[in-house]
Every structure is written in structure tokens, then in C-alpha cells.
Symmetry: D2
Subunit: 406 residues, 4 copies
Amino acid sequence: MSNRRIGVWLVGALGSIATTVILGALSFRKGTKETTGMITETGSFKELGLVSLDRLEFGGCDLRKGRLRDAARHVVRETGALSSEFLEEIDEDLMAIERDIQMGTVRNCGEAIRKLSVSTLFDEGSIRQEVAAICGQFRSFKERKSLDELVVVNLASTEPPLPIQEVHHDLGAFEAALDRNDLDVVRASTIYAYAAVQEGCPYINFTPSNGALIPAVVEMAERNGVPVMGNDGKTGETLVKSALAPMFLCRNLQVLSWEGFNILGNMDGCVLDHPENRESKIKSKDQVLSKILGYTPHSRVHIHYVPSLDDQKTAWDYIHFKGFLGTKMSLQFVWQGYDSLLAAPLVLDLVRLAELAKRRGESGLMPHLASYFKAPMGVEEYRLNEQFEMLLNYARKAGGGDDRVA
Amino acid sequence: MSNRRIGVWLVGALGSIATTVILGALSFRKGTKETTGMITETGSFKELGLVSLDRLEFGGCDLRKGRLRDAARHVVRETGALSSEFLEEIDEDLMAIERDIQMGTVRNCGEAIRKLSVSTLFDEGSIRQEVAAICGQFRSFKERKSLDELVVVNLASTEPPLPIQEVHHDLGAFEAALDRNDLDVVRASTIYAYAAVQEGCPYINFTPSNGALIPAVVEMAERNGVPVMGNDGKTGETLVKSALAPMFLCRNLQVLSWEGFNILGNMDGCVLDHPENRESKIKSKDQVLSKILGYTPHSRVHIHYVPSLDDQKTAWDYIHFKGFLGTKMSLQFVWQGYDSLLAAPLVLDLVRLAELAKRRGESGLMPHLASYFKAPMGVEEYRLNEQFEMLLNYARKAGGGDDRVA
Amino acid sequence: MSNRRIGVWLVGALGSIATTVILGALSFRKGTKETTGMITETGSFKELGLVSLDRLEFGGCDLRKGRLRDAARHVVRETGALSSEFLEEIDEDLMAIERDIQMGTVRNCGEAIRKLSVSTLFDEGSIRQEVAAICGQFRSFKERKSLDELVVVNLASTEPPLPIQEVHHDLGAFEAALDRNDLDVVRASTIYAYAAVQEGCPYINFTPSNGALIPAVVEMAERNGVPVMGNDGKTGETLVKSALAPMFLCRNLQVLSWEGFNILGNMDGCVLDHPENRESKIKSKDQVLSKILGYTPHSRVHIHYVPSLDDQKTAWDYIHFKGFLGTKMSLQFVWQGYDSLLAAPLVLDLVRLAELAKRRGESGLMPHLASYFKAPMGVEEYRLNEQFEMLLNYARKAGGGDDRVA
Amino acid sequence: MSNRRIGVWLVGALGSIATTVILGALSFRKGTKETTGMITETGSFKELGLVSLDRLEFGGCDLRKGRLRDAARHVVRETGALSSEFLEEIDEDLMAIERDIQMGTVRNCGEAIRKLSVSTLFDEGSIRQEVAAICGQFRSFKERKSLDELVVVNLASTEPPLPIQEVHHDLGAFEAALDRNDLDVVRASTIYAYAAVQEGCPYINFTPSNGALIPAVVEMAERNGVPVMGNDGKTGETLVKSALAPMFLCRNLQVLSWEGFNILGNMDGCVLDHPENRESKIKSKDQVLSKILGYTPHSRVHIHYVPSLDDQKTAWDYIHFKGFLGTKMSLQFVWQGYDSLLAAPLVLDLVRLAELAKRRGESGLMPHLASYFKAPMGVEEYRLNEQFEMLLNYARKAGGGDDRVA
């Protein structure tokens, strides 16, 4: 097990996923060692010298002004995970982490997100000034905690899609646009990602916000030797979809329609209830079927806000398919899972694997992490099992001292 | 495409699966070319010289005395497949096939099946005499139709489990038991399988009846150069299970319980309502989870007879699993499919692939057909995608003129 | 049983509900006597002298130019009801009815409906001219068939909501608006309803289109001695809702959220996929909960077009409720029914009961028909069982020669 | 509000329902006033002078030797109701109540229940001695707490059915059988019920055990002026069934099959996994459909033990029905509720209403409580809404000072 000190910078640090990530690491530190849901705790990853969960240091930023303690209480109450006794036990740890949560930026985040924000440090400045301020946050956190590495994870609310233009495809052109403070080319997520890569911090986009890992930022990551990956953590309905869709191929059954309805009641659901934010989400969920099946059945993904559900996302998918002699049959599923508790272990996995990749000298996209994402960048493989095989192969090679990783 | 004349001998020829197999082949012959549900009609199998669907000749046996025409009408009415006009069009073909449906044996089939049978040719004789009579049926059908090959498929109702003893593990000992007419060592399915292998006919056990491919019969198949495979066609709930269960591994989520409820109303459902017959079925469904997960969650499979459903099998599976920090979540699915229409294309696939294997000189078990079975013999791989990969690999090698097939 | 000759004028005569109404009556006439789904065929209605199903004469109008025979074939193929043999048997009857299907009007129907229409008789004329033409259609049909009575039923596609103004609340003012050809005050449904009431024809609005039974038209119905009723036939999800919601009252369980998702693939679904048309539908579905529960939980009804489902409407409702000590629990249901086959028997019931009401000298709204409608006019009772009790009470009184009906 | 001191004697006092009853009353006493799920807290019952929840005194008996505190902790952890802080707050109250929990009897309870019992006070004695001992428990509790009334509620695990003989139909004959210590004529539940009625304590059988309110005991209740009622609290699947089944009548839709599957993991589920105990439960669930529909569709109720679910009972019901022109359609529902939290408010309601009935001088069965039971004694009405109307009518009359209650 590595002895290096690794920091995790959570963008959206007061949200329920980030809070659960912190709770999970603290719970491990306090001795529960309950790591169900984490792949990096299974046998295949034992030999990779991954950073231990109890050595992670957390900081981050948020637009809201809440208390981490309240966010933690909310998670515990809504999900039944852990206990209020445990919350008392870790109260000081939470206070300490809270001191490392800074203000973030709401640049071009859309109305839904802006309404959530209390204030923002960067209202007045140029993009370059914002980038500099954020880089400063990273550096100061690393110094304060004597960190060997800092991994940045985007867990913020989903932004409206960023219209991708030519300027996003070329690092030089993009830098020039920043220099002339062209406000149309960035969203908040772009600024965090750019800053992370500039500072050499591995970066994970766990959200569908397409503004984060634009081609220019990926190009910079390749040049700077920084591993990055996204988009959109695959936690629920899409996870099931990517496991089930190949079944229809294995039987030459033709999917006629695949209609999915998601209801949830947390902040994520609230923001996604806004059509422009929802658009990002639905886009990253939508391509899975076509990529797996090789054709595009009638398919729509719907997301609706049902406050009483809070973090318990519920999804109903109705799959209509054609079988032998043209007969129609169906498969339905109902998924009921706590969004944050499904996401948090993936975030912890990704942090550890991103740190490993950096240490191994990898740069740019990390296609072996495809199984973690709804819309994995640089990967055409959308079948869950095959994606998982890619991860195991990577672990095998990395564990065997093999420098050339597939 | 092969020009050879291939026969298909259907044990349980008046049942709905057999009837649908025949309807499918006739529909193809009449020009519909609707082959959704058949893997052997997809690209990967084009180069293998598989027998064309319109060159298959059907015969078989049954315990009931019904008309094939009525069975066909029943399938059409209950599933909405094809049309009554089509039935009129093929009426003479059905009459012709019906003339090749012989009486079968009910030897040790259990009470539920015996009650269905009208009469049986072999009431009085010894096992050896029964075997001889059945071999005679095979031979005479082959001659009458000038067949190059005859594939035997067991589609009969599920028998009670045959208690496997030492005598079943050794061909010599088993032959000796037959010689002394030891009635305890066989069920009807054993007799058909033994006769098929003796006659050199590739044999497929599409049912869970464990009496069919006992080790001694497999041993004989290996010696005689006869390919055989079973058990229990994977058409519905277990298909979904073998596609979904690996997902929990890919996320290190712990399955706590997987409770499955199947309701159906066809003859199969009626026979499976008898506890002793159900036992066979449930056994072959039950091992899937343990084999895939590597541990055994609380899991039971229930099958109940609901007459109004007829052929439309409906299954509800409730999967309870543990996620991060010990929280419990769930996935449910409801599968609604026409049993016969799910099974028939698999049977047609298996007939074609068994004939290919015989032609290629393979003998004994055909592990590359694992994806077709709930309890594939000689195979430890129960994950659907990996099983399918085995089939594609086989097709690739067989298509490439490679004689050594994995 | 009454010997009077009763006509049924179907607005939307080529749609699947109208076609199924006709198929049902013809099937009865040909001897099947299969009346499952019709309340007026149960014991409580035997003494009321309701018109026999085999004495109904059908005519109507449509915007499309299709053949009734094709519509019938479509219904038979998609639902599995009846048989193609039966279709042949009634081919001439269908041809005869088709000759009585006239062109309709698309006045202010919205883009979605207009696109479906091939041509319209009334493109040029004033509203008054349209009314006169439609009255002419009614009269000429009555004469041609020597009818004692003609019941008009609106089965047309859902229109966008008509903004209700002061002018709609007063018959005089409304008539004046028609006189000055004020095009903003009517939709097609208004014109049919107005014409029906003017001609003394009982009128049923089986659709959610609020333009049909505006207050002024109801006022005219009261004056003219014409019974009318609406809105929106209660066939599926809302039916279940009105049966289930009272359960939560009977247990003092608090409904937190009731989120309903409807998917369907027929013409109705296609039109409802247009937001402006959907608005009408969702409105009439939406009030059920508040009326029953006495408070308004979080609740939305969603309707989406999934072509492969055709007439088989599928609905998933997720009901989240609070129980003792504040714990959250849930009830989900999935409804799978053929829309037309659920609606048609209700239409036949309504025609018979409207004819009875006219004969009994009733005029204006028929609140005893509340159980048939999603948004019953003039009724505050939304609980299914209580609504049904109202119908039985009416039947009891009408059967007992009691002239004063509750 | 009545100032009388009322005791509640819980048979099965350490079970989860009893524990939740106690938790609910204590939570009310401590000020939460959360009474969702209780009908007697709604407006219609305000004027009846029902005993206030915070004046109830709890005692009872159990076969197990556990701590009430642990049972309470279990309920809180598994259901998410209340909090561990609350548990600390009421710890002394629980200790006090625990001192009033006595040993019970396991007489003829069947193997499944006997295995749960640690010891029993009455191993040696005759039935008459057991009755006397239990009467003594009641009397001593009443004296110790200065109670005006004691209501006895059977919440014990379901016993195997008691074969009802002639002797059970006549009080004299039954008393004689007790005198000669005929062990075949009683189960534990009989002894409690007989003792309660002898002591003049209103008695509620919340379980399906048919041994409790045998005709002879009801006869004695009528003579002694003691109100009694049962059987089997209607909390989940059957509740939904009794709300939904009338819908099919209101539409003249024919139920073909209604197949219900219940899975649960608490003690109740564990005991019901034993076929002989399950038989009692299934019997009381089974008659609902026939009573409501007037005919008996294919219908079976299944109950299975799935430990991981603990108290969260989950039920899937598949309802297959025939609509117009013979087409088959379906309705499915999935019910997910905490068994104890559904049952406890009913128990509190029943205690208050039984005390009221006693005070009002009623004796024998209380048919107005039908809506609370799966198999209400002396009642032919099984439709939920109508049963509820019976309760409201009773409340109206009792509230209006009307002595003659329907």
C-alpha cells in the first residue's frame, strides 16, 4: 500500500455525493472497513499499491454556504447508512474538512444552478483571474496538507450543454480565447478542469457537463502528463442498461423501444428538472443503446423531480422487443437505489486509479475506466462486461510491472 | 449453404415448442424469412455452410394423440404470431409431418406426465426392446426421407430427477444394467438419448430432465463420434439472470437475495406444478447465481401454473443487494415473453450447430453452445456475454477452416 | 328490450375506439354475445328497456380518408380480439357503415390534428354554415335509417384546450358570437356538440377536449331537453387511480407523491405527444387525486408516444406515501390494457344510457354517469366505488318506474 | 377525551408489531403527535371520548426471553422510524414496560413456534390451570396499574389451523372439554382468548390463528358483555386487494387470475415459511376475492421468507383479466411497506374502539371493525370502501349519542 499523501478536491463539496465520499473515507478510517461497492478493494487490485482510503485528505469548493455536518446528517437520515452516533464521533473531522471548502465559480452555469449559489468569489474577474484563483486554491491545499498528489473530481450540478465550437478543438485557439476573456467558450466546469490540468492534478468529470473535458483540455492533459477521464458516473439506470442491452444481441432479439423514466428528489433531481440542465444528462444516457445494439430503437430517457424520494432514485424502464416470427414481448425493470451511495464508491475508486495512472506516467484519457462512465471518452465499447474486462486487464498489466498498458 | 438433407426428430412433437419450431421452418420455407431470435442467421455464421432452414425435415414422437394442426392453431391464437391464413396455406405440410409423429415412451416419467399420455407403444417390453424400437423409428424416418443426418431434440415435459448412481458414471456398467433390464436406472429421456447416440444422431437435451445426458451416455457419444449437449434451454428469466448477475460483480455490490417467481399456463407450466417435476427445473435454474457470483445469496426460484396466461410466461424477480456503507437497495424485473417463441429459434440454432459439429467430426459435449442452456454441461462459465463470446469464437474458427476448435 | 331504432354518430369514426365500438356491436349481432366490459349488460340494468346492441345503426365523420375495413383489420391484428374470419364475415356490414361516414371539420383543432386530415368539407364557410352542414348530416342519417333517436359521441383526437371566456358561460352571448362568426370561441368539438344539442341529439364527450361541453352548450341542452355528459372516458390509469386513492384515506396514510407515466402507440398517443394537445389530457387526469384525497400531493401525469406499443397502453404509477411515525413506503402499479377495447364497451354503455335518459325526459348533465369519466361534469365525487353506486341507484330508480331520479 | 386508565395486554409483546405499538404510544407521549396511519385520530372520531394515546399502559407476554430495548432498537434500525436519540430518551419507559412482560404458553402452537420459545410457565399444568394463571396475569396487571379496563390483543406468531369440531360450536360442550383437559380442542391462542373473555377484557385477534375466536368463545363474549373481533389485521397486499378488486366489478371486467407473492424477512415471515403455519395465513387472505367478485378466479397467495428484507414486506400481485371481446389484459402491483408500521396504528385504533364498545355496553363481535381485518368475523362485506363506510357510520351514531349502533 502506497504511503503517499493524496488529496481529493471535490467540486460540489457540500452535495450528497461528495458528502458520502467523505463519510465513506472517514468510516473506513474509524475502522468499519465496509467497502462494498468499491472495485479497487477487490482482489485484482491488491497488488497495485493504491493509496489507502484512510490516507485521503479532502478539500473542495461549493456555491452554497451550508455546513458539511448538516449535509452528512441529511445523508444519514435519508439513506439509513451509518448512524447518528457515528456522526458525533466524526464531528471534528467534518469541521476540519469544512475549513478546506472554498467558494466556487458559477460562470455560465445556467439559471437553475445560479439560483442555488449564495455568493461567488469571482464575480468580477476575468476567466484568467478565475483560473488563477482556483489554481491558488489547489496549491495552497496541497501545501497546507503536504500532499504528494491532488486529484480533482467534478461532482457539481449538471450544467446546460456547452455548444462546442472550433475553438474548443485546439488548445492554442482556446488559450487565445481565454486571453481575450471570451465568455462564451467556458462554463464553470471548464474553468475547474483547465485549472486542474494546468496544475498537474489528475481530473475526473463525474458529471454529464460537457464543458469540462473539451478537446483542448484533453490535449493539454496529454502534453502536461496529466490523466483525465469522464463523463458522467454510471450509477443506476444506465448501469443496468449497459448490462442488459447486450442480452438482446446474444439472442438476436430486436429492441423496438426502450423507454426509461427516472424519478428522484435530491438536489441533482431538482437541477435536472430544468430542461436546459436535463438536456446534458439525457444526452449522455442516450447513446448507450445505439452504441451497444448497432442500431437505434425508439428510446427516450425521462428525468423528473419527486421531492419525497430525496436521494432514493427510482427508475422504471420498459423494453419492448420483437422475437421469433415477429411477436412482441417485453422486459421491465425497476431500480431503486440511493444515488449518493452508488456514486461515492465509484468516486473513491476513480481517485485511487487516477493517482495510480499519474504515478505510472500516463497522460490524457484513461479508457480503462470506461465502465465507470455513462459516456466514456475515447471509448467505443459500451457493454458493461467488456468495459469491466478492460479494467481488469489494466490491473493485471499494472500489477505485473508491465509498463505498456492497453 | 449446405445441400445435405437434415432431419429433426422432436421428442414431444405435439408440444408448443416443437410446433413453433415446425411453424418457424415452414414460415421460412413459404418465404417470410423472419428469423429474429436466431443467432445462426446473423453475420458471424454466414460462412459455416449451415443447413438452410427450408431443407429441414421434421418427425418425432409424442405421448398425446392430438393433431399437429390443432397444436399449430393453438400457438397462433395464443401468441398472435403468424395468421390463420398462413395456417391454411401450410395445412398439408402439417398433415405430412403429422404422419411422421410416432408414439413415445413414458417409462418412469412420473405421475404428472403419465396422466397426459394416451397410450404408449412399449408398455410391455424391456428397456432394450424400447431402445430398439426407437432406433427403428429413427432409421425408418431417415430412410423414408433420404436424410443425410438426423438430429434428435428432447422437448418433452420435464421428468422428476433421476437419482444418479455409480452405474450412470460408467458406460460398461450402465450397459450391463440395461441388459438385466434394471428399471431403476432409466427414465424415458435416458432411452431416447441412448438410442440417438447409438444411432449416431446428434442429440440436444432442451429440457432440465437429468436422465437424458447421464455420464454413461456422454461417454458413448465421445466414443461414437456423436456431438451432444444440454441441459435446459435458457429462454426467459434465467437468460436475464445470466445477463444481469455479472453487473453486481462489476460494481462489487453484494447480492443479498434473488427471489424469482415464474407464472405460466401452458403444458409445461401444468407439469411443473407437480413438485417432483418442478424439482428438476428449479435445480437447473438454481446454480446460475452461485456460479456467476462466486457465493450463494439467499435465492429461490418458484414456478406456478396460471392457466389464463397460457404460453405467455411472466416472471418477477426481486433482487436485494447491499451497497456502500451497508445500505440495502433493490432491482426488480418483470419478463413477459411467449415461451415457445423464445425457445423455437434456439432449437433451430442448435439443430444447425449440432449438424455442423457432427460434420466437423466433433464428439461428446459441445461447450461452445453454453449460452443456449440454463445448466450447460461441462462448462463453468455461466455469464451470458462470456458464453456468447465462446460461440462467436467457435464460429470464427470453424469459418476460417480451422480444424481445432476451442 | 326497446324496439326503437337508435343511431350512433361517431365523431372520429375511423379511429380505433370507434372501430372497436362498431366491431363489438357487429360481433354481438352475429351472435357472439360477448359483452364483458359493459355494465349495461349486467343484471341491474335488465329491466330498463335499454336498446339492444344489435339494433344500433352506425354513422359518423372523420378527417381522414381511410377505409373502415382497414381500421378494423388493424384493431384485430394489434389486439388479438376477434379473427380475420370474422372480418370477412362482416365485410359488407363495414362497407355499408363506411358509406355513412362523412367528412368532418378541423376548425381550430391545432396543428397535430390538422396534419392528420386529408380534406374538410367546410374550409370556406362560417361557423353557422358548418353547424348547419353538420345538422344536415345528422338529419339525413336519421331519415335514411328511419331512426327514432340519434346519439352523438365525440371520439375524435384530443384538441388543445379552448381558453374559456365569459362568452362561453352564457348561451345568448355565445349565440351572438357565432352570429358574428367569432372564430376564437370555438373548436371543432364545440361545433359538433352545439349541432347535436340543437338537433335534440343526446351528446357524449368521451374526450378531454374542453371545447365540447362549454357552459353555454350545457345551458342549451337543459333548455332543449337534451341529456349530455363528459368529459374524457375513464379507461385505464385514471380508473385504477380512482379505485386506489380512497384506500389511503381509509388508512389515514398520507400520499406524498403520485407520479404516473403512460406510454402508448396509437393515433391517440401520437396526437398527445404534441404538448398543446397533451395539456388537455393531463388536466382532466390531474384533478382526480385532489378531489379524492382532499389535499394535493406532488403529482404529475406523463404521456409519451411509443409507436411499437400501438393500442396497448402501458402505465407505471409510483405512489410514495407516509405511514406511521413518518416512515415512507410505496405502491407501484403497471397497467397494460388495450385502449380501444377498454373504451368501446363504455361507449356502448353510454349510448344506451343517454338514449334512456332522453326517453325519460331528462335534460342537461347526467351526473349518474360520473363513473365513466375522468373529469365528470357537475360532480364532486371522484371515488370510483361511490360513482358506481350513483349509477346503480339511478338504475334502481329508473327500473322501479320512479320518475324522480337522484 | 376519556380520563380512564386503559391497559393493553400484548400477546407476543416482544415481536415487532407489539414493539412498534409501544414505540408509537411513547412517541406520542413524548410529544411527536405523529399519528399518520391511525383512523381514530381523524375528525370523525374526535367526539367519541376515545382514550388518549398517552394514557395507555402496556403489558403482555412472550415466549422469547429478549429485551424490549433490543426489539425497539431493531425496529428503529430496520425501518428508519424514530431515532436512536429517541430510544435513549425512552429507555426507562421500555424497562418499566418490560417488567410487565410475562411468560406465555406454547400449548399446541406447532413446531415452528415452539422452537422460538425459551421456556414456558405452564409446561406441566392442565388447560384450566393455564387459564387461571393467565387470568391471574391480567388481574394482577390491572391492579398494579389501577386500570379501568384491559384490552387484550393477540399479536403472536401464526399458529397452524385448529381443526374446528362440534365441540367448538357450543360453549357448554367446550367448557366440558376443558374440564376433562381435552388437549385437542385448544391452541395457545384459544387459551388467551378464553381467559380474556372470562375476565371481561375486550379481545382483538390481529392474527390469522383460527383457534382464538372459536364460536364457543364468541358465545361466551356475548353472554359476558365483552366485545371481541378478528381475524388477521389487513395491512398490506390484502388491503390493496380489497381496494382494487371492486374496480373489476365496476367495469364488468372478468378477473381470470390473481396471483400474489409476498416476501418478507421478519419473525412473521420466518414462522410463515413453515407450511402448517402458512396455511392459516393463506386461508384468511384467500376468501377476499370470492367474497368481493361473487365468483372464484384462479388465485393463489404465496408467502416466502427472504431474511434480508426484514420488516419490509414486498408483494407482487399479477392480475390477469378479460375485457371486451375476450381480450386479455393485466394489472400488476408492487407493495413495499414496513409490516410493523402498517400494523401498529391499526392495533392502537382497535384498542381504542374496543374500549369504547365495552363502555357502550356492546358485546360479542364488532362488525363495524371489518375494515381492519383480512377475514372479518360475522361480516360478508369485503370491499374496503364499504367496510370503511360501516366504521364511519358507527362513529357517527356513537358520536351522536345514539345508543343503537348499526
